[in-house]
């Protein structure tokens, strides 16, 4: 067996052994992936929440905003980022960001924290990015940006848009 064979054997094992572990434990531990995409079957009975990002222009219109056009680095990930932000997932880490630790201390615990405690920061960032792409005098500039939460209760292929709540941020 040549040195090349040994090198390639080591490379193969170094890549496939962690992938095999991820597969057996069905866990994604970056950079090792278990291909568990769509692994849970979709049950019609299960209700699901979803969100719409909208802006209120200076001319009084309400416009749909696609976050992909603002932060395209997060393609295929925006909806889970919003989902996690609404659920305050960044406050449930073992090692908190110091600013989150401070906010949690002020609130008196995770239960006291309102849903989407960091949503205003995210909405502000998106609102500013949107406005920077509009001319200063444009009536399409936003005066506010909001995230509307809806729920599809499930059970039937109807009634998809039960309004739940909104987070609004003045710009």
């Amino acid at each position: 067996m040549t040195r090349l064979h040994v090198k390639y054997a080591v490379l193969t094992l170094a890549i496939f052994l962690p992938l095999l572990w991820a597969f057996l434990s069905v866990r994604n531990v970056y950079p090792f992936a278990a291909w568990n995409v769509m692994m849970a079957s979709g049950a019609l009975e299960r209700g699901r929440s979803y969100w719409m990002l909208r802006g209120e222009t200076v001319s009084g219109e309400s416009v749909d905003i696609r976050p992909l056009e603002l932060t395209n680095a997060l393609y295929s990930r925006t909806w889970t980022m919003v989902n996690a932000t609404v659920a305050n997932q960044s406050f449930k880490l073992a090692n908190l960001h110091p600013a989150n630790a401070e906010l949690l201390r002020q609130a008196g615990g995770i239960e006291q924290l309102p849903p989407g405690a960091r949503l205003p920061d995210l909405l502000h960032a998106w609102g500013d990015l949107y406005n920077e792409r509009q001319p200063a005098s444009s009536p399409q500039r936003l005066k506010a940006i909001r995230l509307d939460m809806y729920r599809w209760e499930g059970g039937s292929y109807a009634n998809y848009d039960k309004f739940i709540q909104s987070w609004r941020e003045e710009l």
């Binding site: 890549i15 849970a40 976050p67 909806w79």
Partner: protein, 288 residues
């Protein structure tokens, strides 16, 4: 050529991505994933800014440009792998563990530690000396990358059947998943074909079964060239259908289908064709 496919895919992807915009997002919504947890928050505070992210983009473009063209490849293939590995971890720390780019990351790892610039590279042109490595040195890394792609599909079907069992064949599985992914405006596209699926729900378990069967037999594409293009063709149809029905797309994975093209054979055929054309022209001119 595999190097150009893999590194080139990430180069294009990085070039069309606004890193500065990503740097505007609040660090406080991040949830570092896996190995990204080892980096301190102060590092993310410095990096996730428009300036920090622009610097990262410049470094990635330079490195990927060098590795794609095959210049200083011994180093640039490794820096490209490390930079992409880090960046993919960073974006996963904002959202979920999206699998699209992961195969590409593993292919970068393979190319970083195997000879990939002895042909079709600036290094080779500058060296002007052919390598005397055996064919195995180049063939095995390509086989490894193809096996990795086969693993993505094959392991996926086993995980689905292990976790969901036969309920995966429920008539409501596909329509309810597809409709859920078509309701918001946070997905990358807004196709509404999913709302048509309940009308044909009785047929959908068969469609799901066909997809699972295709994932299960994908490894055949590695070993049997005769069925390869049928399996890859079905893969293209599958990924396009997830785009139109679920607003979910895997462009990086799809681009890496090019790893199944036998570039040496293609080049040999092209050279033979060129040679024959030149000969015919020469003979014709001689007759004239």
């Amino acid at each position: 050529m595999a190097r150009v496919v893999v590194h080139g895919t990430f180069l294009v992807s990085v070039l069309i991505t606004s890193f500065a915009a990503l740097g505007r997002l609040p660090v406080t919504i991040m949830r570092p994933t896996g190995a990204m947890k080892f980096l301190p928050w102060s590092f993310y505070d410095q990096l996730v800014t428009p300036r920090g992210m622009t610097l990262l983009k410049v470094a990635m473009v330079v490195s990927l440009l060098l590795s794609t063209t095959g210049l200083f490849t011994f180093f640039s293939s490794k820096t490209s792998f490390l930079l992409v590995l880090f960046y993919q971890g960073l974006v996963r720390s904002f959202g979920h563990f999206n699998h699209d780019e992961m195969l590409g990351v593993y292919c970068l790892a393979v190319l970083a530690f195997t000879p990939c610039a002895d042909e079709f590279s600036l290094d080779q042109r500058l060296r002007k000396k052919r390598s005397d490595r055996p064919a195995f040195a180049y063939a095995y890394p390509i086989l490894l990358m193809q096996l990795l792609m086969a693993w993505t599909y094959f392991s996926s079907v086993l995980i689905k059947l292990r976790t969901a069992g036969l309920s995966y064949f429920s008539a409501d599985n596909l329509p309810s998943l597809a409709i859920y992914h078509s309701l918001d405006n946070l997905h990358d596209t807004s196709f509404r074909l999913a709302f048509w699926l309940p009308q044909v729900r009785a047929y959908l378990p068969f469609a799901v079964g066909l997809v699972l069967l295709w994932e299960f037999i994908f490894p055949l594409a590695v070993f049997f060239p005769k069925v390869r293009w049928w399996i890859l063709g079905a893969g293209i149809a599958f990924h396009l259908s997830t785009l139109f029905f679920m607003n979910i797309f895997f462009p990086h994975q799809l681009a890496l289908y090019l790893l199944f093209v036998n570039w040496d054979k293609l080049r040999a055929q092209s050279v033979t064709h060129e040679h024959m054309t030149n000969t015919v022209t020469f003979v014709d001119e001689g007759r004239g």
